[in-house]
């Protein structure tokens, strides 16, 4: 058969326990149809002749043999992938941030970035949290969801949030203490516009649900009698 899409081969010999198959060698011979293949080929299993080994390029003997055995590092087949997202966190979930300057704020989850961090927004107008990255471990996922279908978050990735690389100025003696570093980090206007576009659709969805706006504007705190391990979020 021409090598088309072959399904991965399933064993015809189910395990009774690990290491012990259900069928004996002779039964398996019959099951695999080797008798039929042999019959079709006139009594012997069809062979193909060995492909002539391609002539390996002539290797020069090495100049240097190390005195002790050089250890080879173990093979590592792991692939880098973003942190596994908790099942309770889906786009549109309201999250409670637990650490940092926005601790206690209830915030809307947009998407997971390739670094594994969660892209999140206040919305800014409601609670002052801008488009921001936050780590999954510092977040409680509530079961409240916001409709996020009107929001386009394709353009945001980790590079968007990286620190801006400044061009190094040449060192000048007298210019060391000048007004170079005085300009504070002003948010560029395009980032402010991005915030506005993302929030516009979100705020419309939020205002559709009664009390959700004031909910997102309020901070979460533990009160007397609240037992976190018994609370349902």
């Amino acid at each position: 058969m021409a090598p088309k899409d072959r399904k991965p081969h399933v064993s015809r010999n189910p395990d009774l326990i690990r290491g012990v198959g259900k069928y004996s060698r002779s039964k398996m011979y019959h099951k695999r149809g080797l008798w039929a293949i042999k019959a079709k080929n006139g009594g012997a299993f069809p062979k193909h002749e060995k492909q002539a080994a391609a002539a390996a390029p002539a290797e020069k003997p090495p100049k240097f043999y190390p005195a002790d055995d050089v250890k080879k590092p173990l093979v590592n087949k792991r692939k880098a992938r973003p942190t596994k997202l908790r099942a309770s966190i889906t786009p549109g979930t309201v999250l409670i941030i637990l650490a940092g300057r926005f601790k206690g704020k209830r915030v809307v989850f947009l998407k997971q970035l390739t670094s594994g961090l969660l892209l999140v927004t206040g919305p800014f107008k409601i609670n002052g949290v801008p488009l921001r990255r936050v780590n999954q471990s510092y977040v409680i996922a509530t079961s409240t969801k916001v409709d996020i279908s009107g929001v386009n978050v394709e353009k945001f990735d980790d590079k968007y949030f990286g620190k801006k690389v400044e061009k190094k100025k040449k060192k000048g003696e007298g210019e060391f203490f000048e007004a170079e570093k005085e300009e504070k980090n002003v948010l560029p206007q395009d980032k402010k516009d991005d915030q506005k576009t993302v929030d516009a659709a979100l705020i419309a969805a939020i205002e559709a649900v009664p009390d959700l706006k004031s909910y997102l504007g309020a901070r979460f705190s533990l009160k007397a009698g609240m037992k976190p391990h018994e609370l349902v979020f």
Binding site: I96, R106, T142, S143, D211, L212, S214, Y215, E230, V232
Partner: protein
């Protein structure tokens, strides 16, 4: 103070410990001084220690160890579910369950509602106070 709730065949009890915690069961037989045979529509009939039961006021009319069909019919006839859910004990349990299952958003909404209600009550009180002093 005489006893009012007796262990008898047909007494409805609440399981207060173990795998069937919180279920309403019917005592269908008494095994010995400490154990009873109990049955409920959603469980397999089995023995349970009296210490794991809290007796209720409700009693139904059944013979000793009825089969499941008869038991369910008797429970329907006596309307145990509604009697339980309208009793103050039953209502309290329902409220406890509801409170335990509240979402963070639900808790927020309840807080707003409480504040609103307190505001209305306070207004009425102020009005009444004004009337009495006037």
């Amino acid at each position: 103070m005489p006893f009012k709730r007796y262990v008898e065949i047909g007494r409805i009890a609440l399981v207060n410990y173990g795998k069937d915690y919180g279920k309403l069961v019917v005592i269908v037989d008494v095994i010995d001084q400490n154990r009873a045979l109990v049955d409920a529509p959603d469980m397999v009939r089995g023995q349970i220690n009296f210490k794991r039961l809290t007796l209720t006021d409700i009693k139904i009319d059944i013979k000793r160890v009825p089969n499941k069909k008869t038991l369910v019919a008797a429970l329907e006839a006596a309307d145990v579910k509604n009697k339980w859910e309208s009793s103050s004990w039953g209502r309290k349990l329902i409220v406890q369950k509801k409170r335990a299952s509240l979402n963070d958003f639900d808790r927020f909404k309840i807080m707003l509602a409480k504040i609103k209600k307190a505001g209305v009550v306070r207004q009425e009180l102020a009005k009444l106070k004004k009337e009495t002093t006037a």
